[in-house]
């Protein structure tokens, strides 16, 4: 099967997305991306899914919305479908009923009624084929965790340092899933940036052997490295993280669904 690349430039993502065509602005799409990624992280943890499977669900969901509009597809349903698919893809399947019930609980803070469950289940099972097909059945998703871990293990000799560095990089990788980085850069490139940020944070020095720049083996240029770092840091500065409860309510019309980060 011929593979078409899923990678896009930031401009393509921000200017030409299907949601843009339907009049949803870039900021709102970023907010939605941030919301469904955070939701999937939480849902995945409640389902006791391995992080790999959680990350896969987020990448699938992000890829879906590069081809389909937020105006025509409810991101909550799509993200639940992506979690359901990711479980199967990564060999840690969860029953559809579980995914739905836990998803509903995370979203609404209460148990779904039997009726709601049945309706959601119908939507998830119906939508599954639609999502799989939209994603062209490209289900082999690579992640930056392996290359990051592999490099830290090989390069940082002091065990304590390696542990701290990897932990910090790991957190950047997880948080980075809320940006559109996975649509722009390859996993190994993202891994390099997470290691760099992690080393800055933990003050663990990145070992250099002579002339060769350490990041070269991640197939990333210095410029790309900077770009990934900047975009990662942007996640922590999104203005929708500032309490905008009132505005948000009217803006997304979903009332209780939105609660921005408190105290930011």
């Amino acid at each position: 099967m011929g593979e078409t690349s899923w990678y896009k430039t930031r401009e393509e993502i921000e200017v030409k997305s299907p949601s843009r065509v339907d009049g949803i602005d870039s900021k709102q799409e970023s907010f939605q991306r941030w919301s469904y990624s955070t939701f999937l992280q939480e849902l995945g943890q409640r389902l006791n899914n391995p992080q790999r499977s959680i990350a896969t669900s987020i990448v699938l969901c992000q890829r879906f919305f590069t081809l389909q509009s937020l105006a025509k597809n409810d991101p909550k349903t799509i993200s639940i479908i992506c979690m359901f698919i990711a479980g199967k893809v990564e060999g840690s399947p969860r029953p559809v009923d579980d995914v739905i019930a836990k998803g509903y609980r995370v979203l609404h803070g209460k148990e779904p009624t039997t009726e709601v469950c049945a309706r959601l289940k119908g939507a998830v099972l119906t939508g599954e084929k639609f999502v799989l097909s939209t994603l062209r059945f490209d289900l082999e998703i690579e992640h930056p965790y392996e290359p990051a871990l592999d490099w830290v293990r090989r390069s940082v000799k002091v065990e304590m340092d390696a542990k701290r560095l990897f932990q910090a990089a790991w957190n950047f990788l997880n948080d980075g899933l809320r940006s559109s980085l996975c649509l722009q850069f390859r996993p190994s490139q993202i891994a390099a940036a997470a290691i760099y940020l992690g080393s800055r944070m933990t003050n663990v020095k990145i070992p250099c052997d002579g002339e060769k720049d350490w990041w070269l083996e991640f197939h990333v240029t210095k410029r790309q490295l900077c770009e990934i770092c900047n975009q990662t840091l942007e996640i922590y500065q999104q203005d929708f993280l500032i309490p905008v409860k009132h505005e948000a309510k009217s803006k997304f019309g979903d009332g209780g669904l939105l609660r921005p980060e408190q105290g930011r």
């Binding site: 941030w34 309706r119 957190n171």
Partner: protein, 509 residues
Amino acid sequence: MAVADAGKLNIEEHPPLWGSRSVDCFEKLEQIGEGTYGQVYMAKDIKTGEIVALKKIRMDNEKEGFPITAIREIKILKKLHHENVVELKEIVTSPGRDTDDQGKPDNNKYKGGIYMVFEYMDHDLTGLADRPGLRFTIPQIKCYMRQLLTGLHYCHAHQILHRDIKGSNLLIDNEGQLKLADFGLARMYSQDHSGNLTNRVITLWYRPPELLLGATKYGPAIDMWSVGCIFAELLYAKPILPGKNENEQLSKIFELCGSPDENNWPGVTKMPWFNNFKPSRPLKRRVREFFGQYQVFDRHALELLDKMLVLDPSQRITAKDALDAEYFWTDPLPCDPKSLPTYEASHEFQTKKKRQEQRQREEAAKRQKLQHPHQQHSRLPPLQHGGQSHAAAPHWPAHPTNNAPPQVPAGPSHHYYGKPRGPPGPNRYPPSGNQSRGYNQSRGGYSSSGSYHQQGRGAPYAGGGPRGPSGGAYGVGPPNYTQGGQHGGSGRGQNPMGGSRNQQYGWQQ
């Protein structure tokens, strides 16, 4: 425009907006088989005229949506590109919304089908071998074996275990090309065999002793056992280890390969079910002795077979080493695939009539067999050396010497991609089903197999096997789903910048 309301999906826009082509791009010519999870059609690409095989992914009875087996197969097939591995060309969807009782489209019943599009292949090895009157030549067998090993080596090099190597999963086209097919049970493995995998794979007759003894850590050697069985079967002209259940299967293996002990298989006594199946008396290995009686097994064939049918998986020959075996480099050399005779493609629908006639002939033959009880099987032994029939093996009926190319009556041989629903002839497959349930219950944990269902397999998987992803297969957490790994664990929540755990997200209430 606002973000879509809860539950809204844009499924009205059909392919190509879906990202894949519609099945309407193909003209279905005829049904040519019944796959593991759906029918298989021969079809023509309307635009290019290319003939393909369409395998429909069966979705009914799938309480858990799209089958995980299909997801696995698609993932694996997309990774493999080799001339001896069947090529998945694309996946197409069929538009088609189910309607409710009033004829209105029912949003919750989108049953549009999904099809895998494969390159078209004319035959499978079992089907070909079972053709009445057909006999392979030694160069032909070497040619098929070499292609099988080449394809398998490629899979193993890509960390993929096939886990269901058998004749009906080896497709052959009229160019003499052999390709591995049906990756529905295949999976990735790690180099160190660290994962816990299910031992309930591989059709019984081709299942290696380590799986029958309960191993859950295993590697490519399991496929090589199956290859050994097929190799011997091609020369011996019938399946060599046709066990009716696991117990009998192991007995047959031990009778042929000797009984396992700490000398020939270090660690075997610690295998989970070793004590259940320990042979009561030590048995001698007689692979060479047994097959050596037959002339088609020359010195090099025996040597190679002896290295394949090794009890201890760690001592079994690898696909790569097998390709270097003398057997493939001595006379008669493997022939060029292109030089092989072509056989008339025979699909069920085309040959229904011919098959009926054939059946009548077989009935007649059976009646004759009663008078000649030594004629046990319908397959003919291979021709020696490219068409010259030497003295046949002792128990074989003497065939008239036949220097002509194999006669090819259009026989009902064809099982395409998927498995035949039932045995095409008496004793071709052992009785299917779950007769071994009692045995499986000794496995603990995994044995809540009541909810597995067999999906149209000819030969038995123990307890229905991992084929059925619905129902119990999820909750139980079958041992083949390795979880977690190095990334899980403690660190997930801690975040130096107030990450995952502490951050709220937009939609949470």
